[in-house]
């Protein structure tokens, strides 16, 4: 489980970082999205991997880390997903605006 997920994180991150270095704006946007998957999974993984132990407790009771997975990284990642969406949207629009102004889709606005 851990091995597969960490390999997955690595591949996502490597693909994302590779795209970040490319000259086309669209590549950079896709790269950032891939990288943010990797980072979200990485943060999530810091709470350790558990199967069948969602952090949802009994009514009136109290949970513990023995019976439930770690809620804190999940809360952080939930925030990160939404912020990641906002970032993608913003970059996409900046990309379009830059394309409109400069007439090309190079990251520096000129070939």
């Amino acid at each position: 489980m851990e091995l597969v997920l960490s390999a997955g994180i690595g591949v996502l991150a490597a693909s994302g970082i590779w795209l970040l270095f490319r000259p086309r704006t669209y590549q950079v946007v896709i790269g950032l999205s891939l990288l943010s998957y990797a980072v979200n999974l990485f943060i999530f993984g810091m709470g350790r991997l558990r199967v069948d132990a969602p952090p949802i407790i009994e009514k009136g009771g109290a949970g513990g880390l023995l019976t439930h997975s770690d809620p804190l990284p999940q809360a952080l990642v939930l925030t990160a997903i939404v912020i990641g969406f906002a970032m993608t949207a913003l970059f996409l629009v900046v990309l379009l605006a830059s394309r409109g102004f400069s007439g090309n889709d190079h990251v520096d606005g000129r070939e």
Binding site: L5, L12, A14, S15, G45, P71, I83, A86, L96
Partner: protein, 999 residues
Amino acid sequence: MCFASLCFALAEPPAWTTIREERPIDIAALLLPVLVFAPLAGSIAAICLPSRQGTEAAWLSGLVAFLCLGISVFLYLQVSHRGVITWQMDWIPQYGLNLKLRMDGLSWMFSGLISAIGLLVVVYARYYMSPSDPVPRFFSLFLAFMSAMLGLVLSGNLVLMAIFWEMTSIVSFLLIGYWYQNAQARDGARMALTITATGGLCLLVGLMLIGHIVGSYDLDAVLASGDAIRNHPLYLVALILILAGALTKSAQFPFHFWLPHAMAAPTPVSAFLHSATLVKAGIFLLTRFWPVMAGTDAWFWLVGLAGLTTLLLGAYFAIFQHDLKGLLAYSTISHLGLITVLLSLGSPVAAVAAIFHTLNHATFKASLFMAAGIIDHETGTRDIRRLSGLFRYMPHTATLAMVASASMAGVPLLNGFLSKEMFFAEAIETHKVNLLDTLTPYVATLASLFSVTYSVRFIHSVFFGPPPRDLPKIPHEPVRWMRLPVEFLVLACLIVGVVPSLTIGPMLHTAVTAVLGAETPYYSLAVWHGWNLPLFMSIIALVGGVLLYVLMKPYLANSVEGPPYIRRLEGQRIFERVLVTLSWRWARLIEAKASTRRLQPQLRILAAVSLLAAAVPLLHRGFQPAEIVLRGIDPAFAFVWLIGMACAVGAAWQAKFHRLAALVLLGGAGLITCITFVWLSAPDLAVTQLLVEIVTTVLILLGLRWLPKRIEQATKPEEMTFGVRLRRLRDFLVAVACGLGLTLISYTVMTRQMPGTISSFFLERAYSEGGGTNVVNVTLVDFRGFDTFGEIAVLCIVALTVFALLLRFRPASESLEKPEQQQVQNAYDDRHPDRAKGDSVSDYLFVPAILMRWMFPVIGMLAAYLFFRGHDLPGGGFAAGIAMSIGFILQYMAGGTRWVEERLRIHPLRWMSIGLLVCSATGLGSWALGYPFLTSTSHYLHLPVIGDVPLASAILFDLGVFSLVLGATVLILIALAHQSVRAPRAHIRAPRVGGKEVS
């Protein structure tokens, strides 16, 4: 953390503590914050007045200044009786930062001076300022400055002192630049700010060092540990830094040049800032720290050299000024130098003289500035060469100015004479055996001689001689009220000069004992000390000064401004040269040599640095990756991730030429992420990820249309240059190294035992304190609600930014045409007379459109479901908001922009603002009930049929989150979707505007 502690501090009831515990209500102590904050409140009130209501603003300021003066007078008895009054309120006690105000004799003297001269200047300014200026702004800044000065002299905490010090710098910048339409005023203000704020920065560090040496920022503690400070190895550093603050503020050589340029300010500002307040702040600081820092050789040399040079140079330069205010400015510099020299000597009697001269200089210089303002106001010029014989037009003002100048020159029976005599007496004493000390009496006499010369010049050339010719205005006496403040100050000069010990004596004594304590020496304030050396020095200065004026008169009448020979050696030129070199040439050079504006190298550096930053410490500490165990791998999970990795690599590979394919593959990777969350017990994440994935894909699809076509050419391998390949290889290696590193770290961490974390806190208390069973949701809306609040604010800002960017968006001209598929469809419609244009498009989507339309209520229901179960089960405001926005975007896809907007009321901006308001109101609501920001309570509400519904106040917060997320997402999507409607219209309009293509 900072916000949290701030909220905490605000929520706590303020701890009112006074030093006298046995007297529960100490009125004197409670008056101190009034003294500091009443002008600040007045300043805020004054700025709210309309710009025409100058008289009201003047009344307000006058009342506030009068109140401050009244408080100061009232507190005199307390201070002279008790010694020190303190008032304290905790601010950030963890860092030793308290709002501590402390009044002893010295701060009393300064606050009296500030409020008295402040009151007089307000009266004067009421008649000086022209109604066409925005007068309320003037008075508002004036009061803010007064508050800053009072705060500075009263602060009993070093950090607080630094804060007020900065405030004086900033407000004086605004005051000097009051007539900002005037380039001179802007330059002068900027120069003053650059110099004094740089000094302020040094001062801050210096005060921190003192705090470090003493172990406390409390002024009482600092004043009690003089020996510890003077003997500490950091003494010299702290001294230099503090002097940098004090000397820049008090315009001492070599930082003196900003002051003459600050004369572009309105005259009331000069009268206030350059007599009693701003420039005296440095003197105050030196006097304040005199007991703990003076007396060493370093102090003697640094302060003495700066003071002596300033004393002489200022007086010399003043002779050659043709601007009345310029003359007074250099004279101010010189007199400040005199006070600095006195403080440098380290002897208690000299300190007495310094404090005394501070008072005297403030009185005569304020009146002289006001007189110069009257002359300017009534004649229209300040040029000494054009003014002449004004005595016959304004005899009252002339008499007043003469008395004040005589005091400045040190004529007997006026207050300036007394402190100058004390200065001479101290100058001839031997304090240290060195060259500087030997030189002091000669320099003092010479500077005093010069000061007689410029004083005589001021009086003789302005008020005597032939009647003036072609002045801009016919000169006459000013209104009665404008002269009153001058009369008052000149009277003070006279009375103090004639009977010093009966008038100023006791107050001076209070101030002096506050500084010197047990060391207070015997000093005499008598006018007549017999025929002694200081008197002879005075006589030499007076006679020599008058003679020098007579000799130089012909030269001065026609010379250019500035002293001969060293005229070109202006501080201002050097300052500007330095600024240009630093902020332009060097900055450009460094950018050109060490930086780049290209994104790719920057990102490469970023990635490489993060790689190193992670690798170096790990390798240094002997990082051992965990052993790789292949057993126990779920084959299904492995298969899922095999697809995920393939998607990621495919997206990276296809993103250049096959954007749609890359987008699909990206979505694939997103889905795998989503499945992982489900698999590994994170249902909330899975829901949110899935929904966000849909919206992101739609968003990028909407954007794809505006990107340039890029068709893969059959690039033969040999056509790729060696350089390109090398670059690609390097990028590939960096990317793989980063990926590998992440894999190793995450594998190692994930296979280790979890250390103790704070997570169990959330699990244990989610129900008992948050009232919900879904711990992630409770964490987001309750425990860490403040974070969420910040986050939705970010989302809001992003949506607005997107909206604003797209408002100005002009697509590239080749993207303007309709997409190829639509062109084909429309051409087909055109060929068939029975079809209207656009029919084919709706035919294509006929069945999906009906489905999508009917999905709207279903999706709305789903969103409501997600929202209401959120507190207990996976779901919540985020997920619900995004789900609802998908409902809206489906309608757009089914019916087109116009169809939807004719049928649905879509106001994303309104939804966003409602969301943000609801969230803040929920937070503030708990404040109103006396709890920290965003505290929540919870109950279950039993509804028939539906059952128990969780009803926490956090659900209101979640409602705000829902509304904001919905608004922001819809706003972003719609703004982008609108482009296809707007762009052709904009394109048609554009050529008409200017005759040629604007975009």
